[in-house]
Symmetry: C2
Subunit: 258 residues, 2 copies
Amino acid sequence: MAKDMSPEQAREAFRGGLRVPTSGFSAGWTQANLISLPREHAYDFLLFAQRNPKSCPVLDVTEPGETSASIFRGDLRTDLPAYTVYRDGELVEERAEVVDLWREDLVSFLVGCSFTFEAALLEAGVPVRHIEVGSNVPMYRTSRQCRPAGGLSGPLVVSMRPVPAELVAAAVRVTSRYPAVHGAPVHVGSPGALGITDLGAPDFGEAVEVRPGEVPVFWACGVTPQAAVMQSKPPFAIGHAPGHMAITDARDSDYQVP
Amino acid sequence: MAKDMSPEQAREAFRGGLRVPTSGFSAGWTQANLISLPREHAYDFLLFAQRNPKSCPVLDVTEPGETSASIFRGDLRTDLPAYTVYRDGELVEERAEVVDLWREDLVSFLVGCSFTFEAALLEAGVPVRHIEVGSNVPMYRTSRQCRPAGGLSGPLVVSMRPVPAELVAAAVRVTSRYPAVHGAPVHVGSPGALGITDLGAPDFGEAVEVRPGEVPVFWACGVTPQAAVMQSKPPFAIGHAPGHMAITDARDSDYQVP
C-alpha cells in the first residue's frame, strides 16, 4: 500500500519510473513542493517566501548544486514522480527526472505541502475526496496577488477540498495546527471571491465532485512559487509536477503545533 | 502606563529619548528584534533564519535602505529605545539612535520576540518575574550551535523565565501557540545542559531570582542573530540593544495558532 511505504521506498519507486500523484503516500511523512532556481535568484525567492508564508512555507534550502537536503536524503533530480522545467517563465517540459538539466548553481527549496495534514484530516473524520477517488488534488490560480519580492511576483495558488458543512470547523482546527504546511484554510466557500469561476476546471490537478451539503475549502498551495516563476520569468527553473511531491524524511508531527 | 501605550505612542517616547527595556510595553502588540545588515549579507541571514526558525523567526524584511517596514510604521533608525552597532563583529557602540550611521544598502530584518507572548502568559496565570521586578529579561549564550548558513554561524541565545513547577505545562502550552515569536521553550530546567554555568550571570539583560519550587524555563531568543554577527564578523551591522525592542503595528493575535 502506498500509504505504508517508507519515504525511502516511495522515492525508490519514483526513481524506478512510477509516475503518480503522491497524495496518500507514506502516511505520517511530510511531503514537499520543489522549486530549484539559479543562485542569483535565491534571495528574491527566500524573500518572496518570507512575505508569503501561507503559500510558501520553506522547510529546507540546499547549498548551490546540492542534490539532497537535510530533510530529503534521496536524490532531488530523480526521486520525485515527475518534474516541470521552465525557461523564461514558460513550462517547456514535464519529465520523470532532471539529471541532465541539473546545474551547479541551482539552489533547491523544499516548500511545505498540504498533503502533509491529510492524514490528520482523515484521522479527525474529515473525508478527503481526491484520496477517496484516487485522483490529483484540484488547484486553482486565484485573483489574489502575493506580496512581490525583488523580481518575483505572482498570484496565490490554492488547493481545494470539499468538506461537509458540519466538518468545516474540524478541518480548520486540525489544519491550523500545521502552519509550516500551509496551516488553516485561506478561504472557505465562495470560490468567486477568489476569482475562481469554475471549480470544474482547475488550473492544475484534476476536478473533484462537490456534493450537496459540502463546502469548497481552499488552502494556500505550494504551486504558488511555480506560478510566480511563470509570471516573473527567471531564465531557468525546475519544479515538481503539481501533486507529484518530494516525500521527505521529516515527520508530520515535526511541523505540528502546539 | 507603559502597557497601555499604543505602538505609536511607545515609539514616540523612545524617539524622544526614553531608554528602557520594552517588556510589558503595549500589551497585545508584537515586539521584534532588529538586525540590519548590508545587502550582500542578506541572503546568508535569511538562510540562517530559515535554518534556525526557533531563534530567528523573521516577521518582516525591508528593501535596502528603507527606514520603515510593513509591520513597523515608525522610523527604524530612531524609534527603538536603544541600538547596538557592530563593526567586524565587535560591539563598538550602544546608542539611542542610528540616523547618521544608516546606509542605503542596509536590509533590516524584524525577528519575533518572546516579549510578545508574555501578555498571554500573564493572562494564563503564569507569573513573569522580570516584569514583576521591572528589570530586563536575562539572556544567555548557550553551548548549542545554530545551523550555519553561508558566512553566518553562532550559538543559540536563550531568554530565561523562572516558572513555578506546577505552571510549567501551562507555560509550554501557552507559548507553543506563538511559533512566530519563538514558540514553545527549547529547554526546561537543567541550565548546565545548555552550557549555562551561572544563572546569576546572564550574557545580556539582568539576572532574576529563581525561587524554591520554580524551574528555569528557556526560550530561543532573537539576540541569536547578534551573537552570529559577533562570531561571523560581517563588516557592519546594527541591532536593537537586547531587551530594547521594536514595537510593531502587528497584533500578538496575528501570530497565534491555531
